[in-house]
Amino acid sequence: MNRSHRHGAGSGCLGTMEVKSKFGAEFRRFSLERSKPGKFEEFYGLLQHVHKIPNVDVLVGYADIHGDLLPINNDDNYHKAVSTANPLLRIFIQKKEEADYSAFGTDTLIKKKNVLTNVLRPDNHRKKPHIVISMPQDFRPVSSIIDVDILPETHRRVRLYKYGTEKPLGFYIRDGSSVRVTPHGLEKVPGIFISRLVPGGLAQSTGLLAVNDEVLEVNGIEVSGKSLDQVTDMMIANSRNLIITVRPANQRNNVVRNSRTSGSSGQSTDNSLLGSPQHIEPSCEPEDEDSDEDDIIIENNGVPQQIPKAVPNTESLESLTQIELSFESGQNGFIPSNEVSLAPIASGSTTEFETHAPDQKLLEEDGTIITL
């Protein structure tokens, strides 16, 4: 880390910006070149240097123009902080072990109560302790129910996001038969079913799949007419980003749609689907194929012994200087900005969450997000 090349660069030219950094009770002031802020690591080192806390892990936050305390922990939000600072960049530093995560977020600095929220949802913030939301650096894509708006109610499309977790997928499938409504009446057709969930596996811990759920599609490809071995191979081939459409054996926990749902896609609910549960929508858009696979290429004789695991965080990139890694984070990729991902949960203004009160605890534990 080339931490101090910018240290003390406090010339009086127009391009500089004043920084006021607070750690505990101490303040430090220095300046940065606004046009060339450098990398977050360099800034982080600079802060440790000016506060003389070189070996202390700290959380860095800043006050944005609305007065919200927002974190700085990667290049993106660092640059955002620099570019929006006007005229002064106010930095707040906390020791990691003492950090109060709840301090971050909307309205946290200007302690202004939102009266309306409290009237509408009297129990939301009072009875329960504040929902702990981890730092954006800990965010990763997680398993979820998707495409609720385009699927019949009796079906559920589940994304098991294996990337970055050590948990096994942890389920088994079997052959079976299901009854279908056809123009000739009821007909027994062969199908593929979930036969077992491994305790502690991803499938079980998400709570989104259950034994005897019928598998209808794997990553948008219908499984009807395919053998158990074929479906097994398809699932394993897609194991890094597995999207299974099932007809749950237990139909009581289905998401009940209504037109008041929030979220971008929730408005497009097509009620005509409700009448035809047999109808399967044409496959979900197979999204951003490349996000799940980036082969590691080691050029020349660089570190041949061990291929480092590709983990999407900034520290590991540095250790892989000889490895070309290209993470194209699409809509599945890790979520770069905290505002977006925090919104549905922190504001919590949808009715869906109330109807699923029993599920909520589960969801919190496993970081499952239902996007609508």
Binding site: T232, M234, A237, E289, E299, N300
Partner: protein
């Protein structure tokens, strides 16, 4: 992804696809699996073989062959070719009779089923009443006499199978017409033999199992003669002039009976037990053949002493004081003797004995002293030792072809010089456009070189690697080295020998360079041999080098088999491919991949532990690379336990195949296709029900680096390409593993003039880890025009355009799940086709093939031919990776068939449909090897008179057959001449 699911219907491309691709199963090579019946037509000179799965196969002159499949999956128990007709009648084990005929359509004959028939008794009769035991086609070709278990002989009229009930010869009718003294014994039971009088079509002979034989006058409905033997009857032979009967019996005896009206109660002329005096097994069939010279040939099956030789499968030939018991390694199904075809001729004059054994066909020359075997032009037993791998080389240069044939002809010295005697019909197939070799590796350490150019798969040369090693069995210990006065006079014949001295000798990988004559062969115990073609026998020491693939990996213990002990000192090798270097991998695990670059004189090999590169010019190891993952314990334990289970599963899959083999042949003559599907659905349904009873589970888990056998090297590839930078290309070696890793090494090969002075150097240049971690099954470099790089030396021999080195090269990696194109030299993903994610199928075999257009003579495209684990064959385009066509080829349950598939460079392929048969298929419209032949009964009749005395003395017999000499050397000659002309 969508674009692969719904390919745009570009009409131009669609038309072009029709000109390029077409799927056909064309011919089955090898020996039919589980033969159950033999038939022969002396007039057509066509041999027929029926199998337990209901197939019938007809063979005549080389290239003349037909196949038919009964709709019922029942075993064929008898085949009778109607005398002088292009028709045959088959009896199945469900007691149904079928009439087949060869009909000329569009200039070529086709085999088709005309009628079928099941004999029905009166209502209430026992089923045995109509259970057919013997079929006699009458010489009039209008009647069939059917002997049954009840003792009645029924008559049906051909071709409609009309039952003629008034002509039935019931056992009661026979009994009434017998003299009083013969009636008292219960002499009837089932009919064992039915024969027509050789000269008088109004007399037939009926033999009943209890020992009564009658000669029946068809017109007068009376018994002309009767004979009573004390033993259970097995079979009867009626001498050509009709004056002598020879009966054979269950106690191992045979009797001769004179047919004359003198004696009313005839006694046997002679009765003897040939292998007595101790109890013998039954003689099940006997032939008594007269010769011009006077002394007859007695040929019979069985009759061996029960205690000491009861387990042998023997056919004995006795003639002129000589007696030989030909000893077969598998059960004898049936035999026939080729004799004078003209029924009017005075003598039989037998010239060849044709024996159908369970695992092979053996033909013995009866005219040459010592009765040597005749080399087969087809029906070769591919599985004389189990096939362990195969390798196909297209378009062999004439020079190499001749040298291989010359080496092979020296091995065939013990064969008779007789030309192939079964030569009916004429092949209309044009001469094959090129010479193709199919190499099969076997469990006993041999490699067999087959001529795979045409319809007949013929053995050219056999290479044995056994001499390099010290094996438990002493090669001098020869079973045939028996004393002169040994009794019975057994002689081993045939090549079927399924017992391997040592399974470690098994050949696993073969790589032949057709330009240089270098051959690399690798086996089960980590042995890699490099061989060179030498026209002279040589005595030489094989240099041994050890390749330690574990290198510095510590704490590992190989629990598998030990390496083979190599002979030290010079070993004498026959002319042909002679080994000069043995690279022994350590640990001695099975070699899983092999590549040879004859221009650079390098051989690369890989096992489950790693791979190495060997310079066979300097006889020096260039490098080894361990690919073992530290946590992969299974790879270290050795393959023994797994090999066993694999073998077991292969065996089981063959067993499954046995009954349900339904070939979807294009020219299958049996009925409309709809009915066939019905049949196959029937066989599958019980399987589905079983599945529901005991549901199988499949675990869904992502592959991880910790999985077993990730280091297993699946593929090796040499390429001259831009590995390091885009300005200089260099030799490179690529290796792909089971865990989805690709290693690329740049090589420095010294120029030819300093080749012996400077060492070959290698340096790792790249390592690619596929994120989906599926096994890498193919690596290929495409040149600047997106054409696959040519084979080594191909350009030097002017057989290929030199690759485009101007444009940028691309790397194609095929894993079991995906096809991926990367740029070079900087490796970045460019294109991909995710096969498994889309279809749930996995790539089992992939090969580049050139597809020529059937319209434009010089137009062709390079594409990938792909076989999946579902048995589908697909063509995937290069370089855009678009699926072109897909055909279902092999049943997905047929694991061994899928595992055995090899593609040729011109869009054909082979796979095993049984341990002994290759099915040949073609994806190309242009390259198609298919039998097309003509059999005409009238034509063959015409030159019957010229057939005076055996084949050798009658050149006119060959006149109507187009120039297709059976002699190997003659063929070369004609090829030579053809090439010059």
């Amino acid at each position: 992804m969508r674009r692969f699911l719904r390919p745009g219907h570009d009409p131009v491309r669609e038309r072009l696809k029709r000109d390029l691709f077409q799927f056909n199963k064309t011919v089955e090579h090898g020996f039919p699996h589980q033969p159950s019946a033999l038939g022969y037509s002396p007039s057509l000179r066509i041999l027929a073989i029926g199998t337990r799965s209901g197939a019938i196969k007809l063979y005549g002159a080389p290239g003349v062959e037909f196949m038919g499949l009964h709709r019922e999956n029942n075993a064929v128990t008898q085949i009778h070719l109607l005398p002088g007709q292009c028709q045959l009648v088959t009896l199945l084990d469900d007691n149904s009779l079928h009439l087949w005929s060869l009909k000329v359509k569009g200039g070529a004959s086709e085999l088709q089923e005309d009628e079928s028939f099941t004999l029905r008794g009166p209502p209430g009769a026992a089923p045995s009443a109509t259970q057919i035991t013997v079929v006699l086609p009458h010489s009039s070709c209008e009647l069939l006499y059917l002997g049954t278990e009840s003792g009645n002989v029924f008559v049906v009229q051909l071709p409609a199978f009309r039952a003629l009930e008034d002509r039935t010869i019931s056992s009661d009718a026979v009994l009434q017409r017998l003299p009083e003294e013969a009636r008292h014994r219960r002499v009837f039971e089932m009919v064992e033999a039915l024969q027509e009088h050789p000269r008088d079509p109004n007399q037939i002979l009926i033999g009943y199992s209890r020992g009564l034989v009658v000669i029946w006058d068809l017109q007068g409905s009376r018994v002309l003669y009767h004979f009573l033997s004390s033993q259970q009857l097995e079979n009867i032979w009626w001498q050509r002039d009709g004056r002598l009967l020879v009966s054979c019996h269950s106690d191992g005896s045979y009797c001769q009976w004179p047919v004359s009206s003198d004696a009313q109660q005839p006694e046997p002329l002679r009765s003897l037990v040939p292998y007595g005096p101790f109890p013998c097994k039954a003689i099940t069939k006997i032939l008594w053949l007269t010769t011009r010279q006077g002394l007859p040939f007695t040929i019979f099956q069985g009759g061996m002493p029960r205690a000491s030789y009861g387990d042998r499968h023997c056919i004995s030939v006795i003639h002129d004081g000589q007696q030989t018991a030909f000893d077969f390694t598998s059960r004898v199904i049936d035999f026939t003797v080729l004799t004078e075809a003209d029924p009017a001729a005075a003598f039989d004059d037998p010239y060849a004995l044709v024996v159908l054994a369970e695992e092979e066909l053996v033909v013995i020359d009866l005219q040459t002293a010592g009765w040597p075997p005749v080399q087969l032009p087809y029906l070769a037993s591919l599985h004389c030792s189990a096939i362990t791998c195969s390798h196909h080389v297209s378009n062999i240069p004439l020079k190499l072809w001749e040298r291989i044939i010359a080496a092979g002809s020296q091995q065939n010295a013990h064969f008779s010089t007789m030309e192939w005697p079964i030569d009916g019909g004429s092949s209309l197939t044009p001469a094959p456009p090129q010479r193709d070799l199919l190499l099969t590796g076997h469990e006993d350490g041999t490699v067999r070189f087959w001529d795979a150019s045409g319809v007949c798969l013929r053995l050219l040369y056999k290479l044995s690697t056994v001499r390099v090693f010290l094996t438990d069995t002493d090669p001098n210990e020869n079973l045939s080295a028996q004393g002169e006065d040994e009794w019975p006079p057994l002689r081993k014949v045939g090549s079927f020998d399924p017992y391997s001295d040592d399974p470690r000798l098994g050949i696993q990988k073969i790589f032949l360079c057709k330009y240089s004559g270098y051959l690399a062969v690798a086996g089960t115990a980590g042995q890699v041999l490099v061989l060179e073609l030498n026209d002279e026998a040589a005595e030489q020491a094989v240099e041994q080098v050890e390749a330690d693939l574990l290198q510095d990996q510590e704490g590992y213990r190989w629990k598998g088999h030990e390496r083979l002990a190599a002979r030290s000192g010079p070993v004498r090798f026959e002319p042909g491919f002679q080994p000069f270097v043995l690279v022994q991998c350590q640990p001695p695990a099975v070699v899983t991949s092999l590549a040879l670059h004859s221009e650079w004189r390098l051989v690369a090999f890989g096992t489950s532990h790693g791979f190495g590169l060997f310079d066979h010019q300097q006889r020096r190891q260039v490098f080894v690379k361990c690919t073992l993952h530290p946590s992969d314990q299974l790879a270290l334990e050795g393959p023994l336990s797994r090999v066993k289970s694999l073998k077991k599963s292969l065996r089981q899959s063959f067993r499954r195949m046995r009954r349900s083999r339904v070939s979807s042949r294009k020219q299958r003559p049996a009925g409309p296709p709809g009915e066939v599907q019905e049949g196959s659905a029937k066989t599958e349904r019980p399987g589905l029900q079983n599945m529901e009873l005991a549901p199988v589970q499949r675990k869904i888990e992502a592959r991880s680096a910790e999985d077993s056998f990730t280091g297993f090297v699946r593929t090796l590839y040499f390429a001259d390409t831009y590995l390091r930078d885009s300005s200089r290309h260099c030799p490179s070696l690529w290796a792909g593993t089971n865990g989805g890793t690709i290693y690329a090494f740049s090589l420095r090969v010294p120029p030819a003039e300093r080749r012996m002075d400077e060492p070959v150097r290698a340096e790792q240049a790249k390592e690619i880890q596929l994120m989906h971690r599926a096994p890498v099954v193919g690596i290929l470099v495409l040149d600047g025009h997106s054409v696959p790089l040519p084979e080594p030396l191909e350009v030097a021999h002017d057989l290929s355009k030199s690759p485009d080195m101007q444009g940028s090269h691309q790397l194609l990696v095929v894993s079991e799940e995906q096809f991926k194109v990367f740029t070079l030299p900087k490796v970045s993903a460019k294109l991909k086709l995710k096969l498994t994610a889309l279809e749930g199928s996995r790539v089992r075999r992939v090969s580049v093939a050139h597809f020529g257009s059937r319209r434009a003579e010089d137009y062709g495209e390079h594409h990938l031919a792909v076989l999946t684990n579902l048995g589908d064959i697909q063509v995937v385009s290069l370089p855009l990776l678009k699926p072109q066509v897909r055909y279902s080829c092999i049943r997905r349950e047929d694991v061994s068939g899928i595992a055995s598939c090899v593609f040729t460079k011109y869009g054909q392929g082979f796979y095993l449909i049984s341990p002994s048969e290759f099915e040949r298929f073609s994806l190309s419209t242009k390259w198609l090897v298919e039998p097309r032949c003509l059999v005409d009964s009238a034509e063959t009749k015409n030159h019957r008179p010229g057939n005076g005395a055996g084949p050798k003395k009658a050149p006119s017999r060959w006149a109507s057959v187009p120039a297709r000499p059976a002699g190997v050397l003659k063929e070369i000659q004609s090829t030579l001449e053809g090439d010059r002309g």
